[in-house]
Subunit: 135 residues, 2 copies
DNA sequence: TTAAATTCTGACGAAATCGGTCGGGATTGA
DNA sequence: TCAATCCCGACCGATTTCGTCAGAATTTAA
């Protein structure tokens, strides 16, 4: 149950963009340097975040990335879910019956509770919350 | 953020032993069959759980495993933590300064909240809770 | 005392995942 | 036209995960 560095980097990058919200698009390079993330790797992550609709990109000179909506409307959950491919914990919980035997084992309730609790927490923290705690 | 099958198997096995609590030691083979877990693999997991003090083993004929204490005193958290080697999420949170720069980044608070929430949930569910929901 | 049942342990291996790199193409502003 | 920048897919090495296996140690029962 370790968090992937992908998730960690992702939050850092989004936080960086949040600080920059409202200004010019911010190039990958700038984010990478400020947050100490390998540039080529960050490129991938931002691409994913763009496909998830959390950031918008501007190509060409003076291009870069920016949040697609105000920091208060993007939660940590949004970010983690898109980078981790869902905070599902178990395929069994979503894709029906991945465990073979119709899956109404008693553990199922445990996983559900865990998943729901987790999502509740991460959805309760927005980028704006993170910004505010800086001051 | 997928749960390892180790964790899944672990909960299933412990649930199995909980059903058997108070009776004779239950051999690996029986647990493996009942819970559809590869026997040799389960052997490893139970060994870990024993070292963590959650189960006791009896060797030799008529031997097997049993819970070290009543189902009401073993939480899902106990099991997950011993099999996953801690529900830490990030080394940065425990082992001091694993992220290099003294780590008082704003994300840190997020991870802490996540970790604490997670642990609170899993520690709130005992094996007995799982048993009771069966009826 | 011997045989059978069972745990204990460490080594091994295949497959997946993860963190990261690279090269080259597409797009845009100056 | 040129430089900056995003876009995308392929690739790679390291680690982890899931699982197997062989054999040693221990205990019970016949």
């Amino acid at each position: 149950m370790k968090l992937s560095t992908r998730a960690r980097y992702g939050i850092h990058a989004m936080y960086d963009l949040a600080q920059n919200y409202g200004a010019q698009p911010r190039p990958i390079k700038a984010v990478a340097e400020a947050q100490a993330i390998p540039e080529a790797y960050l490129e991938q992550l931002l691409c994913t975040l763009r496909r998830a609709g959390l950031v918008i990109s501007a190509r060409g000179a003076q291009g870069g990335y920016m949040l697609s909506r105000p920091p208060g409307e993007i939660t940590v959950g949004d970010i983690l879910r898109s980078l981790e491919g869902g905070l599902t914990l178990l395929d069994c919980l979503e894709g029906e019956d991945a465990c073979g035997k119709s899956c109404d084992c008693p553990s199922r309730k445990v996983w559900k509770r865990l998943r729901d609790g987790l999502n509740e927490i991460v959805d309760g923290i927005t980028l704006e919350d993170m910004l505010r705690r800086d001051e």
